[in-house]
Amino acid sequence: MSEAVVPHQAEPSTSRERRLPGRWFARAIESDVFYSFRRSRLTMVAAAITALFFLLAILAPLLAVQNPFDPAQLQLMNSRIAPLWTADGQSPFLLGTDEQGRDVFSAILYGLRISLAVGVLGVLFSGALGIVLGLIAGYVGGAVDGLIMRIADVQLTFPAILIALLINGVVKSVFGNRLDAVSTLTVLVFAIGLSFWVQYARTVRGSVMVEKNKDYVAAAQLIGLPAPVIMLRHVLPNAMGPILVIATINLALAIITEATLSFLGSGMPDTMPSLGTLIRIGNNYLFAGEWWIVAFPGFALAGLILSINLLGDWLRDALNPKLR
């Protein structure tokens, strides 16, 4: 990631070796961005927590005491056990169990996987869509630009959550309620991707409009490079900074959107729960005093989003030349 950040920076003045391949790591360490990273303790904590969440999600099968997606491993005997440190706690269930005897800790680990997968894939999809449309709009201009930007304007009027809900609802009505968990996940990624592309497109279009009149683009055109190559290899890297900021903040938004859709009951099903689904399930037991079923997935979600947001805030300031 850091390699992509660097071209946007003021070039380090001396280093001749910066053109050497394989030196990107040294370049990253020397960069202004990394310097500002080391200066901010809060950012380092946020980065560590975010990394921890990703690690927990990746290592979920090793850390979990059961596979919460496998009904055969759940036993009703073990339902509604309180967390380990309370009087009613029982041994393998660190954070207690839910109504179906699902270990809350394992469910959070596997739920994190779903939430992060939908978030990351959603950001990649919306980013790809927005970047391509923004490049085309900025580079081609004219009627194409007008059309793409009008669509963007209209979509920007509506909050992303509403668009995602509608897309979900329409897909559901076309396929009925027959969708299995994996296709639901795909639908979620598409719904989130289609709801968040506008910001990328606008930013990329703006950068392209500035960049395309510069000499290096004229030079690239002169030696006969095809337009897609110029756009992707020459113009896009110069627009990468703002895109990274948007992507980071949108990762948090995408995770919130997925959790919200799942909470509203039009996201991941109970058999393959994400963090939002776990919170929806747990919410039903709040009045019965079984607070742990909803509290721990809630903490996990809040901590994840907060640390990603802190990273995004820092990245925005670190890449903003005005604030330096």
Partner: protein
């Protein structure tokens, strides 16, 4: 000015027609409406008769024109789940949504502006830093988590406030209000906070940033040089000039407040339009989904139009840029 208003109005109508087409395609093509009406063992001849009676045999443009004509008269068809006209269902629930959204917006404006002004003027105090932290949490916590947290605290643990519903409502004409009864007001507190928190943090951050910007300008320096009191400078000059963007954002955000009300209404089982929409999505009740989309779009587009026009009235500098051909 007139040309600008006219152009924006035409644009707004264009958006509504586009949304109308989307809404119509959902209504017509997402699932077969006939299947929703007849039972599984209805013979084909009867199905054809139903199809004909619904006008589904006509060419698509004619169907669209009919749909649009009906929609303009607020005829959105009959809900599959409730077997009632969708317009009635929506109208019944609209007061609840509007009361909630208005309360949340007022709450967000009052506290957002107060906290924003304070944290701009006393930037280094502990309280200002607490406000900053609260605003970050307000942006990071998903709405439904805030709602659940409040319910756990004030309904389950302390038992002070009701956790769901609107309380007792009073009917005034077709409008039902919860603002006139004690239980209605009590039921309104937590949903309004939940819904307003995000807007509040947004307004607070905006006011703070704008205030800091304005306090650096020359006319504030000049006001200080004239020996005006700090109070007059801060509130008479600085705050007044920050309010234009704040009102714009708050106005534009009113639309998303109505959309975010979907979540709040689900958490608190608030019997309003958003809850109806969520249930419609779950039960694939297309007429309600299509009608909700149209209604909310109409509200959004109207607000955007009004804010745009008001903006040019409030800030004369914008007029010269607008009157130039784009």
């Amino acid at each position: 000015m007139l040309a600008f208003t006219l152009r924006r109005a035409i644009q707004a109508v264009g958006v509504m027609i586009a949304v109308g087409i989307i809404s119509f395609s959902m209504f017509r093509f997402a699932g077969d409406p006939v299947n929703q009406i007849v039972s599984l063992d209805t013979p084909a001849a009867e199905r054809a008769a139903v199809r004909k009676s619904l006008g589904l045999d006509d060419p698509v443009p004619i169907q669209f024109a009919r749909y649009f004509g009906n929609a303009v008269q607020f005829k959105f068809g009959v809900s599959y789940q409730f077997r009632q006209p969708v317009a009635n269902l929506l109208m019944e629930r609209m007061p609840a949504t509007l009361e909630l959204a208005t309360c949340a917006t007022i709450l967000a404006m009052v506290f957002g502006i107060l906290m924003g002004v304070y944290s701009a003027l006393r930037r280094d105090t502990l309280l200002a830093k607490v406000f900053q932290a609260v605003s970050l949490i307000g942006i990071s916590l998903p709405t439904f988590l805030i709602g659940i947290l409040l319910i756990y605290l004030f309904a389950v643990t302390l038992g002070w406030l009701p956790s769901f519903g609107r309380g007792d409502v009073v009917r005034i004409g077709w409008w039902t209000t919860g603002l006139l009864t004690v239980s209605g007001l009590k039921a309104l507190i937590m949903p309004s906070i939940t819904l307003g928190l995000f807007q509040m943090t947004l307004i607070m951050r905006l006011v703070r940033a704008e205030m800091l910007e304005v306090l650096r300008t020359d006319y504030i320096r000049f006001a200080r040089a004239r020996g005006l009191t700090t109070r007059a400078i801060h509130f008479g000059h600085a705050l007044k000039n920050t309010l234009v963007p704040v009102i714009t954002v708050a106005g534009l955000q009113f639309g998303s407040v109505i959309a975010f009300a979907i979540i709040t209404e689900t958490v608190f089982q608030w019997p309003a339009m958003g809850l109806l929409f969520v249930q419609a999505v779950q039960n694939v009740d297309i007429p309600i989904m299509a009608a909700y989309l149209l209604m909310v779009s109409l509200i959004f587009v109207t607000i955007n139009l009004v804010v745009d026009i008001l903006y040019t009235i409030v800030d004369p500098r914008l007029r010269s840029t607008i009157s130039r051909p784009a």
